[in-house]
Symmetry: C2
Subunit: 332 residues, 2 copies
Amino acid sequence: MKIALDAMGGDNAPVAEVGGAVAACRDLGISVILVGDPALIEAETAKYPEARSLGLEIVAATERITMDEHPAAAVKHKRQSSIVIANELVRNGQADGVVSAGNTGAAMAASLLRLGRIKGIDRPAIGFPVPTAKGVTVLLDMGANADCDAENLVQFAMMGAVYAEKVLSITNPRIGLLNIGTEPTKGNSLALSAYPLLSDAGLNFIGNVEGNDLPQGAADVIVCDGFIGNVVLKFAEGLSSMLFTQIKETVAATLKGKIGGLLLQSSLRSIRKRLDYAEYGGAPLLGVNGVSIIAHGRSNARAIANAIKAAAKASDEKVVEAICQALSNKAR
Amino acid sequence: MKIALDAMGGDNAPVAEVGGAVAACRDLGISVILVGDPALIEAETAKYPEARSLGLEIVAATERITMDEHPAAAVKHKRQSSIVIANELVRNGQADGVVSAGNTGAAMAASLLRLGRIKGIDRPAIGFPVPTAKGVTVLLDMGANADCDAENLVQFAMMGAVYAEKVLSITNPRIGLLNIGTEPTKGNSLALSAYPLLSDAGLNFIGNVEGNDLPQGAADVIVCDGFIGNVVLKFAEGLSSMLFTQIKETVAATLKGKIGGLLLQSSLRSIRKRLDYAEYGGAPLLGVNGVSIIAHGRSNARAIANAIKAAAKASDEKVVEAICQALSNKAR
C-alpha cells in the first residue's frame, strides 16, 4: 500500500504533511510518497529521527498551486505541480491513492483530469465526514457541483453508501435527502424530483432529513447539491468557532470563570477537537477513477495522517471497484 | 398601538402567548389583542394579577390550526381559526400588526391571503434575525420560497435592508449574498445571476458572504433562497443543541467537571440563550401588505413579548410604507 501525498498543499505545508506522513508510516505501516520540493521536504523530514528507517519516498515537483489560483487553469498550466504529479502517480499505478490539503478546486480538477471519471458517473462529488452526536455522517456533495439535478443526487447517494460501508464500516447505511420538511411533498424542485428516484434506487433510503437532524446523526449518508453542502459545512465551522470564542471570553471575564474554565479546559478542548472539521481525516472525491482524498487546508499532522489512513482503507476496500459494481447492478 | 396575537399558535399556547402579551403590555405599553379560545385565554390570564388593569382584549376564534396541518388548505378551510382572524384584524385596521408562533406555513398563508402582497413584490420572504458575534444579521428567505430567481433575491435584499434599518436601527445595512466563494464568478446559477443585479440595485451590497462568515456578522442582511435559509437555520439549532448537550455530559462525568460546570453554569447558560433562536423575537414576513411577525414554535413568554415588540416597532417605523417607497424609487 502506497499513498501519494501532495506535500506542498495545505496552509501548514510541508510541516503538517511530513508530520502526517511520518505518523502514517510509523504507526499504521502505510508507505507514503511525498510529492513536492525535495529540499523543503528533506529539511522537514530531518526533524524526525525515525524517518530514515521508515523509507519515505520523495518525488520531486517543481511547481505548487496556491490557494488563490484558479483551479482548472492552474492544473492545466502547472503540469509540474505537486498535486498534478501526485495524481499522475496514481494514474500510472505507482501509488494506490492520493491525498492533498491544498486548493480544493485544484485537487478536484487534478483528479478529474488525471484519473478521469468512473464510466456512468456524471458528476464526481466530495463526501464530507461530518461529526455528529452518534458518530459520523457522510454529507455529499460538499462543493464539487454547485448546480445538481436529481440523477446526480441519486449517484451521490450510491457512492456515499459505498464509502460509508467500506471505509467507515457502517452496515447498510441509512441514506437521507437534505430537505426542509419530512414529508415527500416538501422541498425545492430538486428535492421534490430526487425523492422518488431515491426511493426507487435500491438503497436504504430513509426519506428527508432536516437541517436540525444532521448533527443528531439521523442518517449515515445525506445528499444535497454542492452549493448547500458547502454553505452548511462552512457555517458549521464558523458557528462552532464563534461559540468557543464566546466561551473563552466568558471564562476570562471573572475569577470564578477562570477557575471553572481551568477545571473544564481539557473537556472543552476535546469537544472542540471532536467538532473541528480540520481534525477529520479528509473528504473523498467519489466518482473519479482512483482514490483521491481531499484534506482541509488547515490540516495538522494528525489530520493528514487520518487522510492517508482513509486513502489506504479506500484502496484496500476497493471503493472504486465497488462503485463500478453498484452502477452495473443498477443498470441491470 | 395594538398588536393582534394568535394566542393558540405555539407549542406552549396559550401559556407562552398570554405571558408574552402581559409582559409586552405591562413593560412596553403595547396593547395586545389575544385571539383564540376565550375560556383558555381567560384561565391563563387569571394567573396574572396585573392583567385586569392592563386592558388586554380577547377576540374569540373557535378553530385552531395545528402544526401538522397543510398550511394553505387549513387557512382556506378554517376561517374561524385564531391565525386567520388575527390577520383579519390587521386587514380591517383593528390592529397594527399580527404575531403568531403557530404553524409557520399557515401563518404565512394567512398573511398572504388576508393582507395580500405589496404591489411590485413577487414573493414575500421571511427574514430571520440570526445572532452573530457582533449582533444580529437578517437572513432571508428562511423558508417561504424553496425555489427563487435572481430578481427575488434582489427584492429580499431591499426588504431586508428596510427592516434592518427601521426595526434593528442599523444605518446603511451591509447586504451580502450567501455563496460558496468570495469572487463574483463563484456560485450556483442563482448566485451567479443575482450578483450583478445586486450590484446595480442601489443597495450597500458588499458582495458574497460564505457560510463561515455568517456567524461572524460579516453582513447585516444576507440573502439566499428559502431552501438553503431554512436548512442553515435548522442546522444551527441542531448544532448548538448537540454542542451544549456534549458540554453537559462532559461536565456530569467527573467531579472536577461538576465543580467547573457549577462555576461556569450561568455563563454557559447566557451564551446558550444568546444563541437559542427560539429566544429571538420573531421573524418578519416581509412583502405582505401589513406587519406580520412569525415567532418560533418553541417560543417562551419572553420570545413572544419580543415578537410583539418587533411588530410594534415595524408598525411605528412604517416598514410596509418604506418597502413601497423603496420599490417606487427603484422603478424611477
